[in-house]
Every structure is written in structure tokens, then in C-alpha cells.
């Protein structure tokens, strides 16, 4: 096919619905090709299936390892008519988020996925999305950040943007990736929330980890998500002219109080999200029959003396290790953080109140505290216990390193020593001697 032929096809495919007659009807419902009930696939494909179920209007994509097959699946599903959305193959992540902001302000339900350097490049519009209160769903197929240069998993990228105001949920399994991605549209679009949502899945281990998963019925998802309403609060619509994001603040006039009002509104929305996330998980369990702990998961904690705290796909091996330790008579439990932002302080405190020492396993580094970020956040929550809680920071799985059950055996062993007064005041680098 000659270049101008392919350009002609591209133009025709991109040609807008002309307002003269052949404009596509704005509202029409046609049965989609039936989605399968179950699939054997990896996390990236699971995310694409979830997006198909959520029926977005506009998807903007730019590939980056280990997310790249996700956007390939999206393109394939759109081409095959499994997803009826405007697919924008833009020139970089910065434009990915920018295009989606525009589309959302015009009323579109939107989606994308990125990680690592892509997220860093997307950062300028990324930090603006919560302020615009746009419920854009973005999967982070998390990857360690440069430098050192690496293309493998790790959670440093997602952790670096934790103060921006996006809701962030970390998934343990491929099934949870699919379910959480669908739930995140409802959570983000809830009128009391109206915030963007990151669904974080570990690069490689989840993104390319193949397993069998089940798909919910499209009708259940449509009922679960309900009527979408994206730009009721702020629109770029000639029929409702308004200025979006005028200059606000300064020292005089209404500026200061206005600005505080918006910041406070954002914080309230994040707090509202805690309940909305729990409600969403509850209704999902009832409608679809799969239950995931929404904020914090307590595993064998009730009769535990001490616990390890985990986040993401490392949790599977950790649970196996906890079970093995229990067989050896070790009173260890496990606390898994699913919702990292907003940080579930109350739920964490309830879990921490059951143990006398914790070993927090991070997959990222907090350079300021010489510890892991989850370690620092957990300690902050522990402040509410009003008692000293011995804690150790473990940092593992960086740049795709594998945290195996053997590693967790040593982590459990080290954490146990905190009970008898041992102090570990600098991070234990789990994979240093692999």
C-alpha cells in the first residue's frame, strides 16, 4: 500500500463525524461482541479486558515497557470492535494525559496506562488532574525509575507520585488487576470523590504473569458503574460556557480563601474515597462474587505477635511464607496495603493494634528517610497507637528482583528478633546478596 493510500485511510479513519447528515448518532446501543466469561492471560491483557467492560469514550496511549502489550491489546480490541472508543495514538505520555484531560472536560470517560519514565514525562499534566477533579483512570504497570537504567518492575515510579492527589490502589493478583480496574471508574467518578485513580500492578510479575481469570458479565458491570457523568462540575462546552482553572490565589481579595477552599475540597474528596472504595468493593463482591480487601488486608493477624507488611504482587509469596512459618510455630501475621492513597490510617491502626512488632517490605526507596516509603507511612499511622511499635524496613524486589518465599523466611526471622529488643534502624536490602 503506497504512503498516500495509507494516509488516506488514516485520514478517513480519523475523519470526524461530519455534522452534515452522516454524524454518528450520539446515543445508540448495539450489542458488543460477547466478551468471554474467562480468559487465561497476563495482567496487561486483563487490564485491557477491564477497559473493554468499562466502556470508555477516549483512550490515549503511548507504549513503554513493561506496559507496552497493554496498549497493544487496547488497540487490537478497538480495531476488532470489542471497545468502541476514540483511540488516540499520541506522540508521548505528556500528550496522553493532556488529551484525556481535554476529553474528560468534554464529558468523556477516559483511560490510559504508563509507568517509569513515561510517568515522569507525564508528570506535568498528571499533577494537574486531581485539581481539575477529573476521574481519569490510569494503570501504572510499575517499573523502577532511572538511574540505574532498567526496564523491569519495582514500585519506585508510583511511590514518587504519591503526594500528587491521585487515588492509588496496588493489586496482588491478575484477577485483582481486572476487578480493580473496573472498580476504579466507579470510585473516581463518584460525585463525592471526582478524583483520578491509579491502578498499580507490578511490572513483569503481574504485567506478564499469565494465569486464568474470570470476567464479569457486561450487564453487571454496566449496572455497577451506573450512569456516567464526568464533567458535571467543570465543562468545556459551548452550551455551558465557563472558564476552567482561572488564576486563583494571590494575597489580596478573595484569592487566599478561594484557593484554600479548592485544596480543602481535594482533601475532603480523598477522605470520602476511603468509604467509597469500601462500598465499591462490597458491591463488587455481591454482584460478581469476588471479594478483595478494599483498604488493608489482615492475614492470620488475630493470633499473631508480630507481622510483616506487604504491598502488591509480593504478597502471594509472603502469605506462603507466613503459612510455612506458622507451621514452624512462628506467631507471625501479614498486613497487606491495597489502597495506598488515600492512606487508610484507621484501618492500618486497627491492624497494627494486634501486633507488637512489624517488618515492612517495600519495593521502593524513600531517600529522605533511608527506608521504604510504605515503612515511613506505616510508622506515621502507628503514631495513633500511642505506644512504641518496634519496626524494621525491608527493601526488596527492586528493578524486577524476585522476592521469594526464602527471602520472606529471612524477613520473618529478622522481624521476630524485634520482639526481644533487637533494633534494626537501617533498611535491610532483601535482594542484595541474590
Amino acid at each position: 500500500m503506497s504512503i498516500d493510500q495509507s494516509k488516506a485511510i488514516k485520514q478517513q479513519a480519523d475523519a470526524p463525524a461530519k455534522s452534515t447528515g452522516q454524524a454518528r448518532p450520539a446515543v445508540s446501543v448495539k450489542a458488543l461482541r460477547r466478551l468471554p466469561d474467562s480468559v487465561v492471560c497476563d495482567g496487561n491483557e486483563a487490564s485491557a479486558w477491564a477497559v473493554a467492560l468499562a466502556r470508555p469514550d477516549v483512550i490515549a496511549i503511548y507504549p513503554i515497557t513493561p506496559q507496552s502489550s497493554l496498549v497493544e491489546y487496547l488497540s487490537q480490541f478497538v480495531a476488532e470492535g470489542l471497545i468502541d472508543a476514540e483511540l488516540m495514538n499520541v506522540e508521548g505520555e505528556h500528550s496522553v494525559m493532556s488529551a484525556l484531560q481535554g476529553a474528560a472536560l468534554a464529558g468523556a470517560r477516559t483511560y490510559t496506562a504508563t509507568c517509569g519514565p513515561g510517568l515522569a514525562f507525564m508528570f506535568e499534566p498528571y499533577i494537574r488532574t486531581p485539581g481539575l477533579r477529573l476521574p481519569i483512570v490510569t494503570s501504572l504497570v510499575t517499573r523502577d525509575t532511572l538511574t540505574p537504567q532498567c526496564v523491569w518492575g519495582g514500585q519506585q515510579d508510583a511511590m514518587l507520585v504519591k503526594e500528587v492527589g491521585w487515588i492509588q490502589m496496588y493489586c496482588e493478583s491478575v484477577q485483582e488487576v481486572l476487578d480493580t480496574t473496573v472498580m476504579s471508574f466507579r470510585i473516581g467518578e463518584h460525585p463525592d470523590v471526582m478524583l483520578p485513580v491509579n491502578v498499580n500492578s507490578d511490572g513483569n510479575y503481574l504485567s506478564y504473569g499469565v494465569t486464568g481469570i474470570d470476567l464479569p458479565e457486561q450487564a453487571d458491570v454496566d449496572a455497577f458503574l451506573g450512569q456516567k457523568n464526568i464533567n458535571w462540575h467543570a465543562a468545556l462546552d459551548p452550551e455551558r460556557p465557563m472558564a476552567i482553572d482561572p488564576l486563583t490565589g494571590g494575597a489580596g481579595g478573595p484569592g487566599p480563601s478561594l484557593f484554600v477552599g479548592y485544596r480543602k475540597g481535594q482533601c475532603d474528596a480523598m477522605q470520602n474515597a476511603l468509604q467509597v472504595i469500601e462500598d465499591a468493593h462490597e458491591e463488587w463482591a455481591q454482584r460478581v462474587g469476588r471479594r478483595f480487601a478494599p483498604l488493608i488486608e489482615q492475614y492470620r493477624l488475630d493470633d499473631a505477635e508480630y507481622a510483616i507488611v506487604t504491598i502488591g504482587s509480593m504478597t502471594g509469596a509472603a502469605k506462603d511464607a507466613v503459612d510455612a512459618a506458622r507451621e514452624r510455630g512462628e506467631p507471625v501475621g501479614l498486613i497487606k496495603v491495597k489502597t495506598f492513597r488515600p492512606f487508610p490510617v484507621a484501618a492500618m491502626q486497627k491492624a497494627l493494634s494486634k501486633v507488637k512488632a512489624i517488618g515492612v517490605v517495600d519495593r521502593a526507596v524513600n531517600f529522605g528517610w533511608n527506608s521504604g516509603p510504605l515503612f515511613q507511612e506505616t510508622l506515621a499511622a502507628a503514631h495513633g497507637l500511642q505506644r512504641y511499635l518496634p519496626a524494621a524496613s525491608f527493601i526488596g524486589g527492586l528493578a524486577g528482583a524476585d522476592i521469594t518465599t526464602d527471602h520472606f523466611d529471612r524477613i520473618i526471622h529478622d522481624t521476630a528478633r524485634l520482639l526481644d529488643g533487637q533494633v534494626i534502624d537501617s533498611p535491610v536490602w532483601v535482594n542484595q546478596h541474590d
Partner: protein, 294 residues
């Protein structure tokens, strides 16, 4: 529909006093080469215009005034404003050649034709003045501003009257006329710079535009507009995307999203107001600042 009309402008500095225009006028009006029939007269610099250096030549020509004294003074209603063309018509049958009309005329535009003793004045040759075409030096110019005004004068200025641009700001001029022409079925993007800096997107809860307007980032104007357009295409609504960007927002930091949008054939009207520098932040040089200009 306002009421403004084209008029003839004289550039004394270009006039060589060759009176070709007078010959052309005489021929056009009476077919003769006797320049006494010419309705236009180049006279030695008798009448200098306020503020200009004394010119060698001055122009005596009716400018079809908006508030013509001649019409007021004429006792026999021989002079009247033609509503369509704006020309002050002279009716020979009613004119009694009393010359009262020449009193108060600012431009010496009405005079006696020494050849036939009748009053004569310019009638703009039905909008295509012969003198202007004839002048070899471009000293005479047909000013067609009125046509623009007739076409767009009645259209609403879609910005608020008060924008805090500097006195005489060309950007303010450009954006007001642009938006008036594009109309209100639009989504307007004004990337950070003087244009939103003057308040088009507003300040502390007040907006400076009557149309949907927003601050994109300086870097992503084109990709945000592309996203909006995609959704409106999807909804079957034909809405114009308009960007009023500075040279930095187009050619420097905003270029990548613009180049991507162009490659993807996105549809938007992208206006670059090239004032050749980052003026809003206090005149730093931009990609379009010519070398040595600061």
C-alpha cells in the same frame, strides 16, 4: 450592519505633484483632458495637517464626511448622504451654485468647476476611484477598513471589555478580532503567557471570556484540544477548537504536542501570536526572538 464607508487617503510624502490623478478624474468624469473638470486637486502645501511635517503638497478632495458641514449649509438640499455608499451626492438640478457648501468643509472637497461654473465634488467613482488607480507613486490609497467593519462590526466581542493587557497591546487586538470572527461555538485554549495573563481565563472566580475557555499547560495546548475534539466528534457535535498561543507556546515548549497533533491530523485552529519573546514573564528571549533584538 454598521454604517462605515471606504474613503481615500492621501500620503503627502509620496506625492510628486504630477497631477496624473487630476487628469484621470477629469477623463473619468467628463471624458475630457481638461483638468479643470477634476474633482481632485493637488495643491502646494498650503494646508498642513496637524502634527505632520509641512508637506510640499496637500490634497483637496471630498472625503465623504460622516457629519458633512456642506450638507448642513446647502440651502437647496442639493447635497445628501447616500445611505448605501456613504458618498455625499450632489444633485445638479437643485444646486444653485451659491457655494455655501464650501464653508466649513475641512478638506476643500467641494469647489467650482471653472470650466462650466458649476459646483463639483468627488463621488468615489462608484467605489473604484480612478485617481487612486492612476497615481504612479501610491500617494492615493482607497482605505477599505469600512468593509471589515461592515462585515464584523456587529458581531459580539466575546471577551469582557476590560482585559489587563498593556496599553496598545497587539495581542489583545488580535485575540478580540479572532474570537469575534470564530464565534461562540468554540472551545478556547489560552496557554500561559500574556493572553491568559491579561485575564481571558479570569481571576479569582471571574472569567474574562464569554466562551468556554481554559488554561492548558504551556506544553500541551494542542493535545488537550485534540482530546476535546475527539469527544465532540464522538458525540456528533461539530465544535471549533481554537488556540490563542504565544510564540513560546507554539514553537518552543509547546511544539511537541503541536507537531504530534499535526501528524495525527487533529482538527483545530491554532493561532500563534508571535511577539517574538516571553513577554508575560518580563521579556525573555524565545525561539522566535531575532538575534540582537534585545
Amino acid at each position: 450592519m454598521g454604517n462605515a464607508h471606504n474613503s481615500i487617503i492621501f500620503h503627502p510624502e509620496k506625492c510628486a505633484g504630477c497631477s496624473t490623478c487630476m487628469l484621470a478624474c477629469a477623463r473619468a468624469k467628463t471624458g475630457s483632458d481638461d483638468i479643470r473638470h477634476s474633482r481632485i486637486a493637488i495643491q502646494p502645501g498650503a494646508m498642513t495637517l496637524a502634527g505632520d511635517a509641512p508637506a510640499e503638497t496637500a490634497l483637496a478632495l471630498c472625503r465623504q464626511c460622516g457629519d458633512p458641514k456642506c450638507v448642513q449649509n446647502c440651502p437647496s438640499t442639493a447635497l445628501s448622504i447616500n445611505a448605501d455608499s456613504g458618498v455625499i451626492d450632489w444633485n445638479g438640478n437643485k444646486c444653485i451654485d451659491c457655494l455655501l457648501c464650501t464653508v466649513g468643509c475641512s478638506y476643500g472637497g467641494i469647489a467650482v468647476n471653472e470650466a462650466d461654473g458649476r459646483v463639483m465634488k468627488c463621488d468615489m467613482c462608484a467605489g473604484d476611484p480612478a485617481c487612486v488607480k492612476a497615481c504612479p507613486n501610491g500617494a492615493l490609497e482607497l482605505n477599505r477598513s469600512a468593509e471589515l467593519y461592515q462585515e464584523f462590526g456587529h458581531k459580539e466581542d466575546l471577551f469582557v471589555p476590560g482585559l489587563s493587557a498593556c496599553q496598545g497591546c497587539n495581542s489583545e487586538l488580535l485575540i478580540r478580532h479572532t474570537l469575534r470572527k470564530v464565534g461562540s461555538n468554540v472551545v478556547l485554549a489560552t496557554p500561559p503567557g500574556c493572553i491568559p495573563g491579561m485575564g481571558t481565563v479570569g481571576y479569582n472566580g471571574k472569567t474574562g471570556s464569554k466562551v468556554p475557555v481554559f488554561h492548558p499547560l504551556l506544553t500541551n495546548t494542542a493535545s488537550m484540544l485534540a482530546g476535546i475534539k475527539k469527544q465532540y466528534n464522538r458525540l456528533g457535535r461539530d465544535v471549533t477548537m481554537l488556540a490563542l498561543a504565544g510564540d513560546g507556546g507554539v514553537g518552543d515548549v509547546g511544539f511537541q504536542s503541536l507537531s504530534g497533533a499535526a501528524e495525527r491530523n487533529e482538527q483545530m485552529l491554532f493561532v500563534c501570536v508571535d511577539n517574538e519573546g516571553y513577554m508575560n514573564t518580563g521579556m525573555q528571549s524565545s525561539g522566535s526572538t531575532p538575534a540582537g533584538s534585545w
